[in-house]
C-alpha cells in the first residue's frame, strides 16, 4: 500500500502519458481536432481540411485569379499547414493562422509570376495580369463581382482583395508585399475606380 505523506493538493495537470481516447474527429471540439491533427490522425486531417479549405481557397483564388493555379496552391497551403501544425499553439485563432499561410502562398506565386515576366519568360497561359476582360457580367451578384475583381491587373487586385475583402490595412499590405505605402494606396484606388467603371458598364 502506498504510504501517505501529509499530501497537499497539487496541480490538476493531466498525466502526459494518458492515452488519448478514440474520438470521432468530425464531432469533436476545435482544440481536440487540432490535437488529433497534430498526431497525424488521417481522418482528423481530412475533417480539418474540409472545415478550413473554403477560407483558404477564397483568398488564394481572389489573389491569383486563376482556378487551376488556385487548386495547386490550396494543396500547397494545406501541406504546409499539416507540416507546421505541431508548432501551432492556439495563440492566434486557427482561421487566422491558415488564412495567413494561404495568403503568403498566393502572394509568393504572384511574386514568381512577376519574376518570370521580368525575365521575359512569361507564359501566355499566365492570365489576368494584363487586365483580362470580365465576361457575362449581368446582375451584380457576388459571383459577377468576383469575376470583375479577377479581371483587375495583379497589383490592383492584390490591394483590393487584401484591403477591402480581407480587411488588411494598407500598411500591412505594404509590409508584406515590400512596397511603399503610397504605391499600395494608389494601386488600391485605381483598382476601386476601375471596378466602379466596370460595374457601370
Amino acid at each position: 500500500m502506498r504510504p501517505s505523506y501529509e499530501l497537499t493538493p497539487v496541480l490538476g495537470e493531466q498525466s502526459p502519458q494518458t492515452v488519448p481516447s478514440q474520438t470521432d474527429p468530425a464531432g469533436c471540439s476545435e482544440s481536440r481536432l487540432i490535437e488529433l491533427v497534430q498526431s497525424q490522425d488521417q481522418r482528423a486531417c481530412e475533417v480539418f481540411y474540409e472545415q478550413h479549405k473554403g477560407l483558404a481557397y477564397a483568398v488564394i483564388v481572389r489573389l491569383v485569379a486563376d482556378r487551376n493555379t488556385a487548386d495547386d496552391l490550396l494543396q500547397e497551403t494545406f501541406l504546409q499547414v499539416f507540416r507546421e501544425i505541431a508548432r501551432f499553439r492556439g495563440a492566434a485563432a486557427v482561421d487566422t493562422w491558415i488564412y495567413r499561410i494561404a495568403r503568403n502562398v498566393a502572394l509568393d506565386e504572384l511574386q514568381k509570376r512577376r519574376r518570370r515576366r521580368l525575365a521575359g519568360l512569361a507564359s501566355v497561359s499566365v492570365e489576368s495580369d494584363d487586365g483580362r476582360q470580365a465576361q457575362g457580367v449581368g446582375a451584380f451578384e457576388a459571383s459577377a463581382l468576383e469575376r470583375l475583381v479577377e479581371s483587375l491587373p495583379s497589383r490592383q487586385r492584390t490591394a483590393v482583395v487584401l484591403h477591402t475583402i480581407h480587411g488588411l490595412s494598407f500598411q500591412e499590405i505594404a509590409d508584406r508585399c515590400r512596397r511603399k505605402l503610397n504605391t499600395v494606396k494608389s494601386d488600391w484606388s485605381r483598382g476601386a475606380s476601375t471596378l466602379r467603371k466596370l460595374r457601370q458598364k
Binding site: 501529509e6 493531466q14 498525466s15 502526459p16 488521417q42 494545406f78 507540416r83 475583402i165 466602379r196
Partner: protein
Amino acid sequence: MTTHIDPEQIALYVDGALEGPSARAVSEHLKGCPQCRADQGDTSRLLADLAALPTSREPTRDLWPGIAATLAADTDTILANLRDAIGTRQIATATRLIDGLLDSLRRLQASDPNASALLNYFAQWMDLGFTDRDCEGMSALMLLRRSFARLPRHPWLGLRGTDIVHLRMVEGILAVYSEDYDNAIRHFSAVIGLELDVTDADLLVFSEWALARAYTRKGQYTKAIEHVEHALALADSAERSEMAAACAVLKAWLLFQTGKNDEAVALLNLAEAVLRETDDSLSLANIGSALGRIERRMGRYGASARLYVESIEQYRHCKHRRNHLARALVNLAFVNRLLAVRVESGQRDVDTGDADPTGDLRKQAAQALDEAEQIYGASRDGRGRGMVLLVRAYLEMDAGHWSRAEFAAAEAYELGRRCGDLVLKVRARVQQCRVVHTQRQVSQGDPLKAVLDAESVDAWIEEAMHLVATTELEHLRANTLTWRGITRLEYADQVADAHACCDQATQLLQTLNASDYALDELRLLEAMLGEAGPFARRPPMGLINRRR
C-alpha cells in the same frame, strides 16, 4: 466650369484613407457637386459589396486525395512535427506521434532513409520521462538500444553529415542512461563541434543542454554552467521558450550549487511560469524538487518537506520515469529526519510547519525509503540506491542500531565503488565517520575498538577529502572538511588541523548561504574547539537532547 474630383480620390475619401486638408477639400467639394456625390454613393456601394463577399469559396475539384497521398509519403512531416512537439514540450502530442512510429522503430533498418533522425527523436522523447514506458512489449530504453544496434557503428563511413549528428545524439543519450558520462560528453561535444554543419537549432540546444547535464552529474559545475549558458542563448535566439525554460531549471540548480539561492529561486519561478503552459509534468516536478532542496539548504525544513511532498505527487503522474520519484522520496525522508532531530532538540521554530512534534516523522521517513528502495530495486541506479542506504544509516543511528548504521554506510560506499560514483563514495565515507563518532559519544566502549575506530576514521576521511577535492561540490566539501576537523580533533589531537578545517568549512558555508545540518555540524566542531581542551566530548546535535 466645375472641376470634378478624381474618382481615385473619392475612393480613398470613402475608405477613410484621406487625411487633413485633402479630406477637407473633398468634403467641401462634395457638398456642392451632385455628380461627385453620385460617384461617392457608387463607390460606397461597391466597397460595401466587396466587403460583403463570402469569406469562403469552394475549390473546383476534390483536392483531398492528392493532399492525403502526399502526407502519407511524408515521414519528414511526421518527424518535423515530432521535433517541434519535443521542442515545445507538448508531451501528449509527442507521445501520440511516437505511438504511430513504434512499428517503424521495431522494424528499423539501416537502409531506411530517416532511420537516424527517427531514432534521435525517439531518444529525445524518451529522455522527457519515458525510459520505462512500454513500447511494443519492452521498455522505451530497451527498444532504443535494440533499434540502435541495427544501425551502423562508428566511424559511420559513407553516411550523410546530418545522419551522423543524429546517431551521435543517440549514442550520447544511451551513454547517459548507462551512467557513462565521459562517453556522453564525448558524443555531445562532437555534435557541437560540427556546428557549421548543424543548421537545426533544436539539435544544438539539446546537445548543449545534455552536455551541461552530463557535466553536472560528474560534479563539474564550471563546465556545466558554460554549456547551459550556450544552450539558453541558442534557445532564446531560436525563440524556443520551453527549451529555454528547461535550460533555466538546470542553470538554477547550478547557481544554487554556488550559493546563489535567490537567483536560483527566481529562475525556477520563471521556468515554472513557462512550463505551466505545457503538459511537461516531469520538468514541473523537477522544479518543485529543486525548490525543496534550496529550502533545505536554508534550513527551512518544514517548507522543504512540503515542496517535496508536492513534487512527489507530480512525479507519480510520470509513470515511466520512476527514479525521479524515488529521488524525491529519499530527499523527503532525509528532510523528515532532519525535522525530527530539530523537533526533539527543542529547536522547533516557526518553520517546522505542520510537523507533528510527538510524531512519526522518522516513520514517514522510513516508509518513503522503503518505497524508494522498491523503485530503485528494479533499476540500475547505483547512486539512487546508495542514497537510500545513507539516509537509512541516519535512521538506524538515531535508533541506536550502530552495527546496522555502519553496515548501511559501508554498503553505500561499496555501491559507489562499483559504479565509479565518487560523490556517493565521499558521502558514504563521511557517513561512516559520522556513525562511528556518534556511537563513541553516546556509548564509551571498548578501548581496543576505539583504537581501531581511530584508524578507520582517519583513512575514511582522508579518502573523502581526496575525492571531494576533484569535484566542485562545495557543500559536500564543507561538510567533509567539518568531519575532517572533528576526527582530527577527536582521534588525533590535531587542534591546529581541526582549526584549519573549521575555518575553510566556515568560509565555504558562508559563500553558499547554508543554514542546514552542515552548519549545525560545523557549530559542533566550533564548540568542540572552544572547549577547554582537545579531549572535550560533546555529542552531535540532536542526539544529546534525545538521550536526556
